[in-house]
């Protein structure tokens, strides 16, 4: 397990580059869907470690799934799905769903609150509750529909990949709890290697379309999956080709610079105007003299 310090890579709504950045190993969580038995140990471990209260009176979901969806107190959810394949074979998929810790996090791009969202050099994208203003831009900015607003506190939360545990050299709580090694934690390079080995095994066992889910549209993610049917990620409740939305990119990218250009251009124009024409003098008729 890598001991990783939490060097900051990016901060929401920052005007200066993140301080103190240095090379740090990129961490990742691997979810091998083919060996998930849906035991939900990860769900409980997450809640217990993060002091999230259980929803005893949650609605009936019609399946073995705990909650209908993620919630401010439920940061990861195993989605249960019954799929009848063309050959008559039934599959019951159990797919753990949570923040993907994108390399290019839409939430962070969208966040207007300084320091509310931090991306660490190890790849973890973390929400800093005390800086959150509850505007919800991160929710719309997330291509995986992950962050959730707590109506009581007016703040948004999501999986932190147990940044507190990782900083102390421990694996995230969900990984600690997983009994089948469906979940593993380590450097992304190492886990990609394991993931591809498992994919090869799956191909041998009759899943020709097995593959790794590490979507490039968000710059890759720090939560990666082994999917037996990687051609159909939507069967597992995963978006097929997630991207940071172009409006967000435009808004926070070129448009942001255009905005800056307009603002700074105006200031510069005014200054140049001053140098060229000197201070503006009031006309006599305006002063009423």
């Amino acid at each position: 397990m890598p001991t990783v310090s939490l060097e900051v890579k990016a901060i929401s709504a920052a005007t200066t580059p993140a301080p103190g950045m240095k090379e740090a190993p990129r961490v990742a969580k691997l979810i091998d869907v083919s060996s998930c038995i849906g035991c939900k140990a990860c769900e409980v471990a997450c809640q217990e470690w993060n002091d999230l209260p259980p929803s005893v009176d949650r609605p009936f979901t019609g399946s073995y799934q705990t909650m209908p969806d993620l919630s401010w107190n439920f940061w990861q959810l195993i989605k249960f799905n019954e799929i009848l394949r063309g050959d008559g074979r039934l599959e019951w998929t159990m797919t753990k769903y949570q923040c993907m810790h994108c390399a290019d996090p839409g939430c962070l791009r969208a966040c207007p609150a300084p320091g509310a969202i931090v991306q660490y050099a190890n790849g973890i994208v973390d929400f800093v509750q005390e800086n959150c203003i509850g505007c919800g831009y991160c929710i719309t900015g997330c291509p995986f529909d992950v962050p959730r607003l707590n109506p009581q506190t007016g703040r948004v939360s999501k999986c932190t990949l147990c940044s507190d545990r990782v900083a102390a050299g421990l694996e995230p709580a969900c990984i600690k709890a997983c009994p089948t090694n469906c979940l593993s934690f380590g450097t992304k390079e190492k886990l990609l290697l394991i993931a591809h080995q498992r994919v090869e095994q799956l191909k041998e066992r009759g899943f020709p379309n097995a593959g790794v889910y590490d979507p490039p549209g968000v710059g890759g993610t720090h939560v990666i999956y082994v999917l037996p049917h990687a051609d159909r990620p939507e069967d597992y409740g995963l978006p097929k080709d997630p991207k940071v939305s172009w409006t967000l990119k435009l808004w926070k990218g070129p448009l942001k610079w255009l905005g800056h250009l307009i603002v700074f251009g105006g200031i510069l124009g005014a200054f140049v105007h001053y140098l060229r024409f000197g201070p503006h003098r009031a006309r006599e008729e305006d002063t009423g003299k």
Binding site: S35, K40, V44, E48, G62, W92, R205
Partner: protein, 822 residues
């Protein structure tokens, strides 16, 4: 388990049948995943539902609940017909070559074995279910396996009926699905391959449960998969220490170490030993139970200490004896369901429910509630208030039409510490006796079990001392030697379970030598003596606490062979042996069947590897001349044919559940187990029929998210599954106009429950014997008390009071219901 949890990782094929290990043993299931990853093992799941195990299986076959024997018998037939069995293995390690008595017969048309008395509906004469003997009382064998009455030939004839077509017809699966499973499973008959069978209550909860496990054992023996790494017939136990409970005499019919309980008919120790010590059936058989006198006398010394002397039969007269039933002349039956039948008949004054919740456990909660209402007093020892402790409350009592004022039972609820609030040992399914350390103090006045027992005992003893009584001797003579009598340390108890020498113990071969000095802890079975010089609470656990200390505390992860033996992790009964019957892992010459997975091997005049389950210095060839590898049996070999020990036949025949949507296609006249125990004593002992509208097969089960009826008190578990539900096939739901999430009523001949419909593709309708049969299922974890929605969603309100005739386990998994939208 014949093998252990870690050994599952050595398997090539894993069969999950009669159990749902991914659901109910998720932690142990890691070894299934390891086998899949490291050995490319195949997981085959056979179950009435597409369950969590099926979700990660390589092949799943849906069968109708209660038809597992037909499926297994089909596999046996497939193996026999296709020559997929290990001939050398069955020749020397099983009773396949044994010749069976003339007169033994199976009536294929009637579905009964010889000796059946139709007028009395019982096997009046089981004498033909036996071997043919020679003049010395030894069994006659034919190692060519050709004798028409040898077990092997009888098997071929018996199983010939279970063709793939018949299996498909009975089980409701497709022939192709069966054949694919048969091919994968029986492919392990070659020496270098092994299959493991993982089962649990899905097999034991039937009216034919013992024969079911018998069928699985037969198949595994044919394939040569018993005693080998990655093989075995493995019972996955349902509680952390249920194995320990079973080992230590929890069942009514034996004392600790599976020693038969004394019966009223045997009034002296001599009579008892004569009745229960088996005679060898082969010339050189080890027949290890010949040591019963050593085991039992040492146990009596543990029970009665100085009050057990040679002159008084070691206190045999103090030991409780199972009374004779005056009507049948047989020993009384005090197994679980019989207790509540007797209670309902008013034969019991009081009941101590220690860590049990009979109202919820059933079978048939209403009968249990009605029975509890007839008691004078009830003591419940539990970590939470249970439905049993609260049975007198109006919403529970109304199930039997009573009000609290109608009930005179005085109820005491004693708060107990839970598992984390006390130390002690857990014996896991793989027989590992593992010490655990207390994590926190119990809350409030909660006490650990041993303190509750000790205080009750001391009070009872005090009363006997003061007031005398009918027979105070057993209580007054009990050996209560613990440093703190009111709260014995479990270290001391474990020490006593292991046992020690009371005086110097001389070597039996050379009396001038001393094997043990007085006070030495025992470290081997045959250090026990039948003369009162040794004391041991449970002979099977010898070795767990030696002069070297408490070995249950060992935690070494050293695994030099890489086979997952972990000999220095805890202590594995018997004798720290990790794989039982491991002599079978090598051929008759002592060469491991699979050189890559040698459990034991004969090298330089001794057996090396795992602790050998064989005479340590016996050469390999001894196995061909009667010194068999199944040392506990007088035959020395495994019983394919069971000579009279089972109530329902020497071979496993397929019988329908007592309540079944269809008649047995093989023999409709004896459709269900003809000797199943069917209570008829109370108004609650009722069975329904399809003609009365009960035409849907129903089964009950457990969920990962809950542990029995405890976790409904824990908000995290409740959140994960917070409501009682009924799993219903889509087609049936459509037919009944039920949508996912609707409330439904499920009604059996005995009661009804309401729950939320969970409409699913995971149970499919089946065509059985030409007609469509539907199955539904429900988890057991709800009731009346606890967090979340309880509302009486208690599955055992529906289950029948029908039992297996050998184990007396109720038929919780296979009964009939009606289904309605509520």
């Amino acid at each position: 388990m014949t093998n252990g949890w870690t050994d599952i990782a050595n398997a090539d094929v894993i069969v999950a049948m009669g159990g749902n290990p991914a659901e109910n043993h998720p932690v142990g299931f890691r070894f299934v995943m390891e086998a899949k990853r490291k050995r490319n093992a195949k997981l085959v799941c056979v179950d009435p539902r597409f369950n969590r195990t099926a979700a990660v299986a390589d092949h799943f076959v849906q069968i109708r609940t209660g038809t597992d024997i037909a499926f297994l018998n089909g596999l046996i037939h497939y193996a026999l017909q296709n020559g997929r069995y290990n001939e050398e293995y069955i020749k020397y390690y099983t009773n396949a070559p044994f010749i069976v008595k003339e007169g033994y017969e199976f009536d294929e048309k009637e579905g009964v074995f010889s000796g059946w008395d139709e007028s009395k509906k019982t096997y009046g004469d089981k004498s033909t279910w036996d071997y043919e003997r020679d003049d010395q009382g030894y069994v006659k064998v034919d190692l060519t396996l050709q004798h028409p009455r040898c077990v092997f030939q009888l098997m071929k004839k018996f199983f010939a009926r279970y063709t793939p077509e018949v299996v498909a017809q009975i089980c409701g699966c497709s022939k192709e699905d069966f054949l694919k499973a048969a091919d994968i499973i029986t492919s392990t008959y070659v020496p270098a391959k092994a299959a493991t069978f993982l089962y649990a209550l899905g097999w034991t909860h039937h009216s034919h449960s013992v024969q079911l496990i018998h069928a699985a054992a037969m198949l595994q023996l044919l394939l040569g998969n018993v005693g080998v790494a990655g093989g075995g017939v493995n019972a996955l136990r349902g509680h952390a220490n249920i194995q320990g409970g079973t080992d230590c005499g929890m069942a009514y019919h034996n004392t600790a170490g599976y020693i038969p309980i004394p019966k009223a008919a045997n009034q002296s120790l001599k009579e008892y030993l004569e009745a229960h010590t088996p005679k060898p059936l082969r010339p050189n058989s080890m027949n290890f139970w010949q040591n019963l006198d050593r085991f039992f006398v040492s146990q009596l010394k543990a029970f009665y200490g100085d009050h057990a002397t040679k002159d008084n039969d070691f206190g045999y007269h103090l030991h409780p004896k199972l009374p004779e039933d005056p009507q049948t002349g047989k020993p009384e039956n005090w197994s679980w369901a019989f207790i509540f039948d007797a209670m309902h008949q008013g034969k019991m004054e009081g009941f101590i429910s220690f860590g049990m919740n009979p109202v919820n456990n059933g079978p048939h909660s209403r009968k249990v509630i009605a029975a509890l209402a007839k008691l004078k007093w009830l003591v419940v020892v539990e970590t939470f208030q249970t439905e049993t402790a609260a049975f007198w409350k109006p919403d529970i009592l109304k199930l039997v039409g009573l009000k609290p004022e109608d009930v005179q039972t005085e109820v005491f609820l004693l708060p107990a510490a839970n598992f984390a609030e006390k130390d002690g040992t857990f014996t896991n399914s793989g027989r590992w006796i593992q010490w655990k350390w207390k994590a926190i103090d119990p809350p409030g006045e909660a006490k650990p079990d041993q303190e509750i027992i000790a205080r009750l005992f001391l009070k009872v003893r005090e009363l006997y001392q003061k007031e005398g009584g009918k027979f105070p001797d057993p209580v007054l003579a009990l050996n209560w030697w613990y440093t703190n009598p009111a709260n014995p340390s479990l270290e001391e108890v474990l020490k006593e379970i292991n046992g020690w020498a009371l005086t110097d113990v001389p070597d039996e071969k050379d009396p001038t030598k001393v094997v043990l000095k007085a006070g030495d802890q025992l470290s081997a079975f045959l250090q026990l003596r039948a003369d009162g010089s040794t004391l041991s609470g449970n002979w099977l656990y010898i070795g767990v606490y030696t002069n070297a200390g408490n070995l249950a505390k060992r935690r070494s992860t050293e695994d030099p062979t890489g086979l997952g033996f972990f000999h220095n992790w805890s202590f594995n009964w018997p004798a720290n042996r990790r794989i039982m019957y491991n002599r079978c892992s090598a051929d008759a010459q002592g060469r491991p069947w699979d050189p890559n997975r040698p459990v034991i091997a004969w090298r330089n005049g001794k057996w090396v590897g795992d602790v050998p389950d064989y005479k340590a210095d016996a050469p390999p060839e001894a196995v061909t001349t009667g010194l068999g590898p199944f040392i506990m049996l007088p035959e020395g070999v495994a019983r394919l044919f069971v000579p009279g020990q089972f109530a329902d036949g020497p071979f496993p025949e397929f019988y329908e559940p007592l309540e079944s949507p269809v008649k047995n296609v093989l023999h409709p006249s004896h459709s269900s187990n003809p000797v199943a125990v069917v209570f008829q004593t109370t108004q609650y002992d009722k069975l329904g029929t399809p003609d009365e509208g009960y035409d849907i097969a129903c089964t009950t089960y457990r969920l990962t998210e809950h542990f029995h009826y405890w976790t409904k008190n824990n908000p995290y578990n409740v959140q994960l599954q917070n409501e009682f539900f009924v799993e219903i096939p889509e087609e049936l739901a459509q037919k009944k106009g039920i949508r996912n999430g609707d409330m439904v009523r499920v009604i059996s001949a005995r009661g009804e429950v309401r729950g939320r419909a969970m409409v699913t593709k995971r149970i499919r309708p089946m065509v059985v014997n030409g007609r469509t049969v539907y199955q539904i299922g429900m988890p057991i974890h709800w009731g009346f008390l606890g967090r979340g929605k309880q509302e009486g969603g208690l599955a055992n309100i529906l289950t029948p009071t029908v039992l297996d005739p050998n184990s007396f386990a109720p038929e919780y998994k296979g009964f009939l219901v009606k289904l309605e939208k509520a």
